[in-house]
């Protein structure tokens, strides 16, 4: 953290500054009303809702299966896991089983999407604090990844791939080998990327000890996923509340330990995502290996989908624990759908942690929490 902050004396004047909604480093349309005295902020009040499409309202007006394309729009950077959350919730509600091959395809697509989402998160974060090169490097890899996902399901961002009871399509011929080839290509890139920026002195000075979120704070604020793990809480939905075929796969859960400063600073949040790349690659290799032995069936389409009751399902999305709550009243549509997303809960953290930060560091804080605007507003 800058020494300037310790030397800061309030002049007693407060200026209100508007940041956004079209500010490039707010990652979408979010507005911040910044109360500032010179460079030091007294508070940054998030003003969200510019991308509110009432996806929860739409869920009541579509059939369970027909709502799937809308879940892509909950989080367009990592749409696959939003698909998965909705499918998992409805399957839990209606007691449906997914064929093993379908579960493997879900895990493979989830992990590919997680890698691509972290590409955006890490690249954009480096760019936001002034390092443009990593973004270009990593977007090149993401292009290949998008090609793979496009071959799998026909879309590059809004996949609409998962179905209630399975997935929409099997892997195309030769896709598995392409995928393995890409992983072989990507694995050294992780280290290259790590060396490129993570240990850069400027980068460390900029991020270490900045906006520290301690473990108990992170739990209370409801931070999830990489942000929670960066604060030193060892929790991953994939490991601790296993779903799909994750129990059959071996992977580690990287936890921030304050390598460059305090536990839970911006640098830890950055580093945890780099480590998650490595774990995702491990999962992908095992899943692509094990899927060979499964049956051909990948989707058991439910015949009559009129569940009654309520169910809450959790999956590990790229932005953490995504919860989906479904209430069914015996009709073809959901009576109420609800998405619990990581970014929405992170907004409160920004408001609290922005006190006493510099305006330029607010950008680093937003980026380190990996905020995606549609996930906030839904």
């Amino acid at each position: 953290m800058s020494e300037l902050i310790f030397a800061y004396e309030s002049s007693g004047e407060e200026m209100t500054l508007n940041m956004g909604p079209q500010h490039p480093s707010t990652h979408g349309v979010i507005r911040f009303i910044i109360k500032t005295d010179g460079e030091i902020m007294h508070e940054a009040i998030p003003d969200v809702g510019y991308l509110h499409r009432s996806i929860e309202g739409i869920s009541e007006k579509c059939t369970y299966e027909g709502f799937m394309p809308y879940t892509d729009r909950v989080d367009y950077v990592c749409a696959m896991t939003a698909n998965h959350a909705w499918a998992a919730a409805v399957e839990k509600l209606a007691d449906l089983k997914v064929p093993e091959r379908g579960e493997y395809l879900r895990v493979i697509s989830d992990e590919l999407n997680r890698i691509s989402s972290h590409c955006i998160a890490l690249g954009a974060m480096a760019m936001d604090i002034g390092a443009t090169t990593p973004f270009m490097y990593i977007l090149r890899e993401r292009e290949y990844l998008n090609d793979l996902l496009e071959q799998l399901c026909g879309a590059r961002l809004t996949y609409n791939y998962h179905r209630i009871g399975g997935v929409g399509w099997d892997m195309p011929a030769g896709w598995r080998d392409k995928c393995l080839k890409w992983i072989d290509h990507f694995e050294p890139i992780i280290d290259e990327y790590d060396r490129l920026i993570c240990r850069n002195e400027l980068f460390i000075k900029r991020l270490a000890n900045l906006a520290v979120v301690t473990g108990p704070e992170a739990i209370s604020f409801g931070l999830v996923g990489p942000n929670l793990r960066a604060s030193g809480i060892d929790f991953d939905v994939r490991r601790d509340l296993p779903y799909s075929v994750y129990p059959k796969l071996k992977f580690g859960v990287p936890v921030g330990h304050g390598a460059m400063g305090a536990v839970g600073d911006c640098w830890d949040r950055y580093w945890v995502r780099i480590e998650e790349w490595k774990e995702s690659v491990r999962i992908l290799r095992q899943a692509l290996d094990q899927i060979e032995a499964t049956d051909k069936e990948f989707w058991t389409r439910p015949k009559k989908l009129k569940p009654k009751g309520d169910a809450y399902a959790r999956v590990e999305a790229a932005r953490g624990d995504m919860g989906c709550y479904v209430v069914g009243d015996g009709g073809t549509n959901a009576y109420r759908g609800r998405f619990r997303t990581g970014s929405f809960n992170a907004m409160k953290v920004i408001q609290v942690k922005s006190r006493g930060l510099m305006v330029a560091d607010l950008v680093a804080l937003i980026a380190s929490l990996d905020i995606v605007a549609p996930e906030i507003d839904r």
Binding site: G49, S54, D240, A311, Y312, R336, F344, K348
Partner: protein, 191 residues
């Protein structure tokens, strides 16, 4: 790690009548009902009791049930130390849905409660900053209520538009000389 039934038994010994109606039927996540007036007290026990330690408020949901004339609050809780989860529901009257805010118990409740206030019109007493979060401050009505009807205009802007498909039909049926007709010129007043 406790099962939901054990958590409910523990709550009953600590709180008595404040919680009731533990159910496993008709739901995938067993829940109990809480008396709305005592919710804040119950929340503190849920978070602080050494055996429960439900320190993570995952999700706050309100569901509108006009037939029963109820608004139901649903709180999904999880414990990081013990790895167990629990669901608490509270039935509020639909015309005056008010419940205590738990933003001082779990910081995550702050924004989640604001969202439920915004979209379903649930009032939270003692909330630090109860404003609309998604919709503009001067929006009328609560969109996720089942009987919500959107106003025709918002600040003189229409909230709906004709379907482009309908416009297409009109266009196709128009005689050729009227297609792509330039808009009528407006008279410019002399200054």
């Amino acid at each position: 790690m406790l099962q939901p039934a054990e958590i409910f038994a523990r709550l009953q010994t600590l709180l008595g009548d404040a919680v009731s109606g533990f159910t496993t039927e008709g739901t995938k996540d067993p829940y109990c009902k809480v008396v709305p007036e005592k919710w804040h007290e119950v929340a503190l026990v849920l978070r602080d009791d050494a055996e429960l330690k439900l320190d993570f408020l995952q999700c706050v949901t309100a569901v509108d049930w006009p037939k029963q004339s109820q608004l139901q609050m649903i709180y999904h809780l999880y414990s990081y130390p013990h790895h167990h989860s629990f669901v608490v529901k509270a039935d509020l009257p639909r015309d005056t849905p008010v419940i205590a805010s738990v933003a001082d118990v779990w910081a995550a409740a702050d924004w989640n409660e604001r969202e439920q206030y915004d979209l379903l019109g649930v009032g939270f007493t003692q909330h630090p900053d109860l404003r609309r979060v998604m919709l503009p401050d001067d929006w009328v009505g609560y969109p996720l209520r089942k009987d919500y009807k959107e106003a025709a205009t918002y600040r003189e802007m229409p909230t709906s538009r004709p379907s482009p498909l309908q416009l297409l039909v009109v266009y196709d049926k128009a005689p050729p000389e009227k297609r792509n007709a330039p808009p009528p010129e407006e008279e410019v007043a002399d200054e």
